[in-house]
């Protein structure tokens, strides 16, 4: 049976010397979910993971596994396992012995060990390589052994600390797909740490974006991308335009924002009239026309980069703010350099403009 919360971190904090690595974070991991901790290096995501594993004990707060308080419990007594960044396979042990390491520690009967190791090898498509030593394996194969070694113990949660960082681009993409399907097959909760937004977006059920020891935002990939709540999230994930404006009115869930001499609608009504706010629009959501009759925002083309399938336009708004537009090249167009200096109109769907929290 799956518990409602496999892992609960309740107001955990951790300081190293005088830097705060994790600052009063509360996080719950649901049964069977693929949760990603995403953030730049030093944001506290690895420390958070190590708290779940038991390698770090929080200075404040509690760690719960399956409803049980394990805050001070050492790693070897926790039913979670980790896939380490450089795999950390035991160099003196064969693939078989590496995978059997935890089972032997649990005094599992010899026959059962054999069966479970074989099953784990099968699961990561490494059958037949059980006699090899780690140095005889490629990076991708070592990765698979590390996965098998952790999964063979049927942990409550599998923790993965940037497991794909050491692989080349192509293999990384392939492993992303495999990891996701593996997670769905075994049905165990995965907590995955990465600084790579693409990894986070492709694999996760839920993404936790972290910055400076705190959680910035938690949500599905589309929520994180389409509705970032803070400037940090908006700029860490994908490319974004952040534009300053003033609230002039509110209507249902939208606010009316004055941008220069123009008024536009943007998503978010947690505002007061007169507030100076920042709003975010993704470059690909902006529609750019050379037709000036429209009542939309006026801008001038400053520069352009032709990318084949699309063109990257750099615009300047009337009030001096810059904006990037990514336009699909649906029809054959004039050389982009000819457009520099032209006046254009830009507009977007009100749902695509998100007001950021201060």
């Amino acid at each position: 049976m799956i518990e409602e919360h496999e892992v609960e971190l309740l107001n955990v904090s951790k300081r190293f010397a005088d830097t705060v690595a994790v600052d009063s974070v509360t996080l719950r991991v649901m049964g069977g979910e693929f949760l990603t901790l995403l953030g730049p290096s030093g944001c506290g995501k690895t420390t958070l993971l190590r708290m779940i594993a038991g390698f770090e004990i929080p200075d404040e707060g509690r760690v719960m596994l399956g409803g049980r308080d394990v805050t001070g419990v050492p790693p070897f007594k926790r039913d979670v396992t980790t896939v380490f960044q450089q795999y950390a396979l035991f160099p003196h042990l064969s693939v078989f012995e590496n995978i059997a390491f935890g089972l032997k520690q649990k005094r599992v009967a010899r026959e059962s060990v054999k069966a479970r190791v074989a099953e784990a090898l099968e699961m990561v498509k490494m059958s037949g390589l059980d006699r090899r030593l780690p140095y005889e394996l490629s990076g991708g194969q070592q990765q698979r052994v590390a996965l098998a070694r952790a999964l063979v113990l049927h942990p409550r949660v599998l923790l993965l600390d940037e497991p794909l960082a050491a692989l080349d681009q192509k293999l990384r993409k392939q492993m992303q797909v495999e990891l996701k399907s593996l997670q769905q097959r075994v049905g165990i909760s995965f907590v995955y740490v990465t600084h790579d937004q693409e990894e986070a977006l492709t694999m996760s059920d839920r993404i936790v974006v972290m910055n400076a020891g705190r959680i910035e935002q938690t949500g599905r990939a589309d929520e994180i991308y389409e509705r970032p709540q803070t400037e940090f999230v908006a700029s860490f994930i994908g490319v974004s335009n952040i534009i300053k404006g003033t609230v002039t009115a509110r209507r249902e869930e939208y606010s009316i924002i004055k941008l220069g001499d123009c008024e536009i609608e943007a998503l978010g009504n947690d505002t007061k009239v007169g507030d100076a706010i920042r709003l975010m629009v993704r470059p690909e959501k902006i529609v750019m026309t050379f037709d000036r009759s429209d009542g939309a925002l006026a801008a001038t083309i400053e520069s352009a980069v032709y990318l084949g399938e699309s063109t990257h336009w750099k615009l300047k708004l009337r009030d001096g703010q810059s904006m990037t537009v990514l336009e699909q090249n649906r029809a054959a167009s004039r050389p982009v350099q000819d457009r520099i200096g032209s006046e254009v109109r830009v507009s977007w769907n009100p749902d695509s403009a998100v007001i950021l929290k201060r």
């Binding site: 050492p74 790693p75 070897f76 396992t81 950390a88 035991f90 160099p91 935890g102 070694r149």
Partner: protein, 289 residues
Amino acid sequence: MTARVREKLEDNRLARLLFSPALIWLLVFFVAPLLIALVVSLARRGPYGATVYDLTGDNYLRALDSLYLPAYWRSLWVATATTVITAVVSFPAAYYIALKSPLRWRRILLVLTVIPFWTSFLVRTYAWILLLRSEGLINSVLVGTGVIKEPLGLLYSDFAVLVGQVYGELPFMILPLYVALERLDKRLLEAAQDLGANRFWTFVRVTLPLARPGLIAGIVLVFIPSLGAFITPDLLGGAKSIMIGNLIQSQFTLLNQPFGSALSLILTASVLILLAVAMRVGLKTSELA
């Protein structure tokens, strides 16, 4: 001649050039004496100590005489005990220096480990006499504080020999162990714990096996000199604690070079055999590097 062949020749020439000094040294001062010893060991001691070249196996037969067995036996167990005690004492020290000490202390601790080498081994062994003898520091303190009434007979015993040997060999065990442990990836220790191994099992299943090359190097470095030791037993062991090293030394001073040579060769051969066994049993070739 292609460039590659020429390059290879260059390499060979370079190798010869770089190896020659060591090679010449070993030929002149190791192989040649060994051959001389071999020839002398087959000779006979003439009257008045002259060496008579006779081609006889008598010296080797004499070496099997039960008279000398206690010396062989003592050599073997003193060397074994020295090695075991040194390993047990060194491991925690090397472990601490390599894995637990703060980085800025590490270098200082390593220097402290080799500081004894700055003084001659002979002088340091004499220092032990001052510590161990009846009127020495240890007995004076013990008697003075009333722990014991009569001074203990510490000096001139197997105990004294062991103390001196372990003391002298300690750095030769600590250093290779340090090197092996220092290379140990700490994440492996975390991985073991993550998979359910407590500190004890992590040590037995991960730390110890990965320190094995260092341990074996240390064992070889300590056991071989201990087997042939003669300064320590001579100074600290007294007349009762004769080891094979003392036996050899006395044969040469007694002007029985042929018998002394035979004993030397037996010792050398034993060491080589033990080494070969150790390599076979304990050391995979991949670990030699």
